[in-house]
């Protein structure tokens, strides 16, 4: 028995790879494939569940926002800024379109065509995620209370540690006064 065992594990000369190598490789490959197939559901279960995805878009009636005011609603469990900008605020943002900025963007690229007064942004500072305060900072946009990032009236980063402009969510105008976000 001990001899047969030794024979069985020794590679057969002249055959490379031999049949035993093939069995080892096939068995380990099948086991690895199986493990990977099982691993995916166990990883994917941590992704957003169907009920979370179902609640991922909201509709909002803009007529509730007074000119010059900002309303904060929650979207995907996060604050969303809906700001009805005055003509002066739009003008000051457009004037700075070619100013020196960290994340250059024109005011027109931050809003939907024909709806320049409506600025809809994720209320989450691009530095580390605090909620910026409306009207703070020298540009009259937002000031983040955590580390002093200053955003202008187009939500563009103008000074402070934040690297990017305030993020724009995906949204469409259903009517002139109704938007669907997400």
């Amino acid at each position: 028995m001990a001899e047969t065992a030794a024979d069985a594990t020794a590679s057969t000369p002249g055959q490379d790879p031999n049949r035993r190598d093939f069995i080892y490789i096939a068995a380990v490959a099948a086991a690895a494939g199986g493990a990977a197939a099982v691993a995916w559901p166990f990883i994917d279960q941590m992704n957003p569940a169907a009920d979370t995805l179902a609640a991922a878009s909201v509709e909002y009636d803009l007529s509730k926002v007074e000119p010059g005011a900002q309303v904060v609603i929650t979207w995907r469990k996060q604050p969303l800024f809906i700001r009805n900008r005055t003509a002066a605020q739009i003008a000051s943002a457009v004037k700075d379109d070619h100013a020196d900025m960290k994340d250059p963007a024109t005011d027109a690229s931050r809003v939907k065509p024909g709806h320049a007064q409506w600025l809809i942004l994720l209320g989450s500072c691009t530095h580390l995620g605090c909620v910026p305060t409306e009207g703070g900072g020298k540009y009259g946009g937002w000031l983040c209370p955590c580390h002093g990032s200053v955003y202008d009236t187009a939500g563009r980063i103008r000074s402070g540690p934040a690297p990017k402009n305030l993020e724009l969510p995906e949204y469409t105008f259903l009517t002139d006064t109704k938007v669907k976000i997400g």
Partner: protein, 425 residues
Amino acid sequence: MSGQSTYEPKSAITRWMDKRLPVSRLVWDSFVDYPTPRNLNYWWTFGGILSLCLGVQIITGIILAMHYQVGPGAFASVEHIMRDVNYGWMIRYIHANGASMFFVAVYVHMLRGLYYGSYKAPREVLWLLGCVIYLLMMATAFMGYVLPWGQMSFWGAKVITNLFGALPLVGKPITIWLWGGYAVDYPTLNRFFSLHYLLPFMIAGVVILHIWALHVAGQNNPTGVEPKSKADTVAFTPYATVKDGFAMSLFLIMFALFVFYLPNALGHADNYTEANPLKTPPHIVPEWYFLPFYAILRAIPDKLTGVLAMFGAIACLFALPWLDTSKVKSMRYRPQAKLYFVIFIVACVVLGFCGAHAPDDQVIPGLSAFQLLDSNINSFVWLSRIAALYYFAYFLVITPLLGLRETPLAVPESIAAPALSHPAE
């Protein structure tokens, strides 16, 4: 873990590590070079299968705990897992059926130990640790079954916790303490969730002791004769690892059949109804793996005696190493013991069968000839009394007496001897 280590670190890194924390040496000595009896059959693969079951239950359980809510949202959160969580249905079905698979494997493992005398010297502590694991498994399974907070969960919890109420004087205060109130309620659910999460790790701890004890005493084998020379053993790797791996693969196929094709075959439809403390389901039964003990409980008309008998049935397992007087380990060489063992298995199955039926139902429908005074002998309660009597007699009367009175067959000189000469069994 026993004998001289043959591990030789080959690289500079493994030599450095070996002097500081010899993990590789432990693994090598325990699972590679470890000598296993050469004649182990497939009944010996269930230890590995059980480790696999524990691993599967812990992994799927940790995942379920990520999505489960304890408290008033418990029932809804289980439906959330089934419908909304990605692959939640699969993970829950693996966990729920995994409990049954775990018990299938543990019963095979225990019966193998009974048949081949694996509890006898020098493996008494190994056996006791196994009994402790079995008890922990039962506690874990029971508390896990309560968590979905369906009707069976609730009434199962109520019935089992009320067992403690049978104790004189302390009964009532103990049940109130267990419940955290005056009935099974969310405080009970909360503590069961906590303990259901804890116990599997305690099982894992006792499993380590179990394997340690196994590697100190060495594995038993179908002949029950201890290995005497190198000719009697083969290396754990590849012989045992490949054989265990093959058995695990077959076991996983059966497991998958249940998970994907019969996911609710072993459960009860009533548990998809949310717990209602005002209404008991018409027919309440535990999961299949508890049925024999449930039948013993109901076989006895007195509450306290019934509870004691049920716990006594498990206590018999703990006492077994000292109840068995036979000098021969394996029943392969004990023809009479073999016969009583088969009847014992039949008695356990009959008990399980009785546990699944209402006590007063007729075993043979329509037959009313077996009236004895006031009782109908043709009822499940009487059948379970006969089977329970045999269960206890097997441990307390047959096993001690048989070892003294039987004439065993000739036991081989060594493991290798019969293996090489191929005698008729």
